[in-house]
């Protein structure tokens, strides 16, 4: 079992201090299987990368390494030239991660959920007002449900609460693992717009999705399992 890996936007070794995210020969092993072998890539301002691969090819594993959640990897992840193992906090302030799990408390309302998340992740001196938060909820179509406990919402609606963070985020790097899960077609279009907007403003994004996606400025990078067995045979 081994993994093919192609370098796009390569030359990661050129200038170690350059701005943006640099992956330098990342290797990941899980359960005795080598999932990611010697992956290097660089993402600069305004760039988006879509990580592709069949189920079980290691996309989530890679994204968790990049976000700093997982420590079990070889190689380096550098943010603005600095190894995130040495300086985790510089990435933490500038990175937004939304994973398979939404990070939404079922007992709280969408507004409450947004509010605790903001206090943890957007620690600006000027607090974000409730109106602004309501606007973000409106952007994901949840304004009418702002005060409904989340466990009463549908699967897609719950996922939208997590995505409302994108409308308030000032983070430079977005790491989104399957953001379109459970979202309806109209919602996907609007999300794509939001991501494109983020890139246009000089942001960066790493996204995985199994659905079709069209956003300008995105390049693809595929993690493909060599003995292509991940697909339904």
């Amino acid at each position: 079992m081994s993994i093919e890996s192609s370098n796009i936007n390569v030359q990661p070794h050129d200038d170690p201090t350059r701005s943006g995210l640099t992956l330098d020969s990342i290797c990941c092993e899980r359960g005795d299987r080598l999932l990611i072998q010697d992956l290097s890539l660089h993402i600069a301002d305004g760039q988006g990368v879509r990580i592709e691969g069949p189920n079980g090819s290691g996309k989530t594993t890679l994204l968790r390494v990049i976000a700093g959640l997982s420590q079990q990897y070889d190689g380096q992840v550098r943010w603005n030239g600095e190894d995130i193992r040495q300086n985790a906090s510089s990435l933490a302030t500038e990175c937004l991660y939304i994973g398979h799990l939404a990070g939404v408390k079922a007992l709280l309302t969408p507004l409450e959920n947004l509010s605790w998340w903001l206090s943890l992740h957007i620690p600006s001196a000027k607090p974000i007002s409730q109106e602004v938060q309501l606007q973000a909820l409106q952007s994901v179509g949840l304004d009418r449900f702002a005060d409904t406990p989340c466990h009463q919402l549908s699967a897609g609606q719950q996922r939208r609460i997590a995505l409302a963070r994108l409308y308030l985020s000032e983070h430079r790097l977005w790491v989104l693992d399957e953001p379109f899960t459970a979202i309806d077609a109209a919602g996907v279009v609007l999300l794509e717009q939001r991501i494109a907007e983020h890139l246009a403003q000089g942001g960066m994004a790493i996204v995985t999705t199994h659905q079709a996606m069209n956003i300008a400025g995105f390049t693809s990078h595929s993690l493909s399992v060599m003995s292509a067995n991940g697909a339904i045979s």
């Binding site: 968790r64 976000a67 700093g68 959640l69 997982s70 420590q71 079990q72 906090s89 933490a92 302030t93 990175c95 991660y97 994973g99 398979h100 799990l101 939404a102 990070g103 939404v104 408390k105 079922a106 007992l107 709280l108 409450e112 509010s115 605790w116 998340w117 903001l118 206090s119 943890l120 992740h121 620690p123 600006s124 001196a125 000027k126 607090p127 406990p149």
Partner: protein, 234 residues
């Protein structure tokens, strides 16, 4: 505690407050949840009196010890949920990724948990003394002892909760890990109450309890943070 209060110059405490508020809201969302640990303690004491049978003196002799052990169990029973819910719904990931100091976040979560488990148990001290025949003069000491003790138990229990959060092996592993660590608190706690009942000097055990609390408060978050980070790599 009713509205989010953000100090203009202290976003760090804004995060602390937000997390404290969030957890308290979750705990209070269903009416009565916060009463559960207290009711549990009262019930177990009732059961003990039933199980031990018609011998009133036996209980009051050991009242301090019984109260302490039962309070510990009530707190430990509820500790499993401290981080597991966050782990299951992904908000633990968000917590760990926050640029805010984790130390404070962990403190906020433990404090919130203590508010709904430890505090009611402390406040009910007069009730226990009534049930177990402790002289009323010892109630303040009982309450103070439980105040410190429940705090110590919350911090220590949180270590066990953090180390086992990613293991789906049930809450009893927490018990196995933390009960040995509880022992000093139990010993000094029940000694403290006994001293109060018997009229012995309180300061020596009091300062031990205080020391244990401060030690637990300062050190346990370190172990807890280690355990929580670990949980993401399983």
């Amino acid at each position: 505690m009713s509205t989010i209060h953000r100090d203009e110059h202290a976003p760090i405490f804004a995060a602390f407050n937000a997390l404290l508020l969030r957890d308290l809201r979750v705990y209070f969302r269903y009416r009565g949840t916060w009463l559960n640990p207290l009711v549990f303690v009262l019930m177990v004491i009732t059961l003990f009196t039933l199980g031990i049978g018609p011998d009133p003196s036996a209980l009051s002799n050991h009242a301090a010890g019984i109260i302490w052990v039962v309070a510990l169990l009530g707190i430990m029973l509820s500790l499993d949920a401290l981080f597991r819910a966050d782990y299951d719904d992904g908000s633990l990931e968000q917590l760990l990724l926050s640029p805010q100091p984790l130390y404070l976040s962990v403190l906020a979560k433990i404090l919130a948990h203590w508010f709904i488990t430890g505090l009611p148990i402390v406040l009910a001290s007069p009730l226990y003394s009534l049930m177990l025949g402790i002289p009323f003069s010892a109630v303040p000491a009982l309450a103070v002892g439980l105040l410190f003790g429940s705090g110590i138990l919350s911090f220590i229990g949180a270590i066990g909760a953090a180390l086992t959060v990613s293991l789906r092996s049930g809450g009893l592993l927490i018990a196995l890990l933390t009960l040995p660590l509880y022992v000093p608190a139990i010993i000094f706690g029940s000694q403290f109450v006994e001293s109060a009942i018997e009229g012995w000097p309180l300061m020596p055990t009091f300062s031990m309890l205080l020391g244990l609390l401060i030690g637990a408060m300062v050190l346990s978050p370190l172990a807890i943070i280690g355990g929580l980070r670990l949980s993401q790599d399983v």
